[in-house]
């Protein structure tokens, strides 16, 4: 497979890891790097990279799993909308088993006869709404800058085609504000960040300016083993030289200026708003709410939601795991009461959640 196999070449990965080892030894102190993106966390586990890196390098997993950082309040609101009569609730598959306050989830609602549909593309929700004018289709907008433009594009298409029975519940979030919060967190001392490759396709380097400004290293990195090894190498080089910038490792997909068209589409439909992140709390300006001129497509305006009293599941330490201050195996529930087969918290539910990745790949290290 073109653009994948080349980056899985053992020779290439081995060579890059040799370079990493030499550079890490030269730095002569422990270094903490954070992979922000859940897809990175998963790739690091899948390719066994954590155990191939020198002992002085610590790779910490960050809050880059949109499903995991969705607040319990938003999960409860999504469940409420999905339960309304006449509603077809369209969602990406990874939200299905995320538990709300009462342990309820979308999969159980579906089993109980509610119309919950897993879509592969927001465009599918528009198509379904068009073909089923008697249903109120609610699309769960979830994800970072990679996904938000696809939801915005679907809204624009719906408007263009005069689809009046589609609305979006936007729980979208943006990455830069979360990075700011991580940098400001004194309990977390991160020397460099592996920045998420596909978010960066949209944002370009601009989204990460605050990282070098704070004297930390940044490298926009792809998802194959050679990409990640080279991303780590670029971070170590910045740390060794004491010169910080936003490096682009993933140059085949990321342009410095990003994808302006996708950003325009996103900004046409959404505007920044405050958002609550699991683990990080409310981060001002880190959410995306639907602009007033698109209020017809806003599920929160179309439906009246009651006051829902939400509460986190007791004992689940997802919040601390997402902030990078705790490793999954330090949670008392991990691997015992909470496993991928019967997950209690979102970081275990989501395929790319940190706990799920550690359970699958990192146990016994």
């Amino acid at each position: 497979m073109k653009y994948i196999d080349e980056y899985r070449s053992p020779d290439l990965v081995r060579g890059l890891l040799d370079a990493v080892a030499i550079l890490a030894a030269g730095i002569g102190r422990d270094v903490s790097l954070m992979e922000i993106c859940g897809t990175h966390t998963h790739a690091v586990g899948r390719y066994g990279l954590r155990r191939l890196l020198p002992g002085t390098l610590r790779l910490v997993s960050g809050p880059g799993c949109p499903v995991c950082v969705t607040s319990i309040g938003d999960v409860d609101r999504a469940l409420h909308l999905a339960g309304l009569p006449g509603v077809t609730f369209a969602t990406f598959g990874d939200m299905l088993r995320v538990p709300g306050t009462g342990g309820e989830n979308l999969a159980r609602l579906r089993a109980a006869g509610k119309d919950v549909r897993v879509i592969a593309s927001p465009a599918d929700a528009v198509r379904f709404a068009e073909e089923n004018p008697a249903r109120q289709v609610v699309l769960l907008g979830i994800g970072f800058e990679t996904t938000a433009p696809t939801v915005a594009a679907a809204v624009l298409r719906a408007r263009e085609r005069g689809v009046g029975n589609l609305s979006v519940f936007s729980a979208h979030k943006t990455v830069p504000q979360a990075i700011r919060a991580l940098i400001a967190d004194r309990s977390l001392n991160i020397d460099g960040f592996l920045c998420p490759g596909h978010v960066s396709v949209i944002t370009g380097v601009e989204a990460y300016r605050m990282i070098p400004q704070a004297g930390r290293a940044a490298a926009i990195t792809g998802f194959e083993p050679a990409d990640i090894a080279e991303g780590v190498l670029l971070l170590l080089r910045q740390i060794a030289d004491g010169r910080f910038e936003v490096a682009i490792q993933y140059a085949r997909g990321v342009k410095a200026q990003g994808n302006a068209r996708a950003r325009e589409v996103m900004a046409e439909v959404f505007e920044p708003g405050d958002a609550e992140w699991r683990g990080l709390g409310v981060i001002p300006g880190s959410g995306l709410r639907i602009r007033r001129e698109f209020e017809a497509f806003d599920a929160l305006r179309r439906f009246t939601l009651p006051e829902i009293r939400s509460a986190e599941f007791r004992g689940c330490r997802c919040g601390d795991v997402l902030r990078g201050v705790m490793s999954p195996d330090q949670c008392g529930l991990f691997g015992e009461a909470c496993t991928p087969a019967s997950p209690l918290g979102p970081c275990m539910v989501s395929g790319e959640g940190t706990c799920a990745a550690y359970y699958k790949y990192e146990r016994g290290l």
Binding site: E6, P66, F144, T146, G253, R261
Partner: protein
């Protein structure tokens, strides 16, 4: 969640949807948010049913040969 794959464009329809091939499977993706013209034969990165970027072939080849050179000559 932000998972995305490189796929080769096989055809483009008037409604701005393309059929792409990813490792032998075919999928339909929208071209609504790509920021440059793409044609049949191009590779695009696809996420959630949308192409989000044309892959820069030149950048990819240049990078691979650079890394190979780095490793062959151990110029770390």
């Amino acid at each position: 969640m932000c998972i995305a794959f490189p796929g080769k464009i096989l055809s483009i329809d008037p409604d701005n949807f393309a059929v792409i091939e990813i490792s032998g499977t075919r999928r339909e993706v929208s071209l609504d948010i790509v920021d440059e013209p793409v044609t049949v034969g191009d590779y695009v990165i696809c996420h959630a049913g949308y192409a989000i970027q044309r892959i820069d072939e030149e950048a990819a080849l240049e990078k691979l040969s650079f890394l190979q050179e780095l490793i062959d000559n151990e110029i770390y």
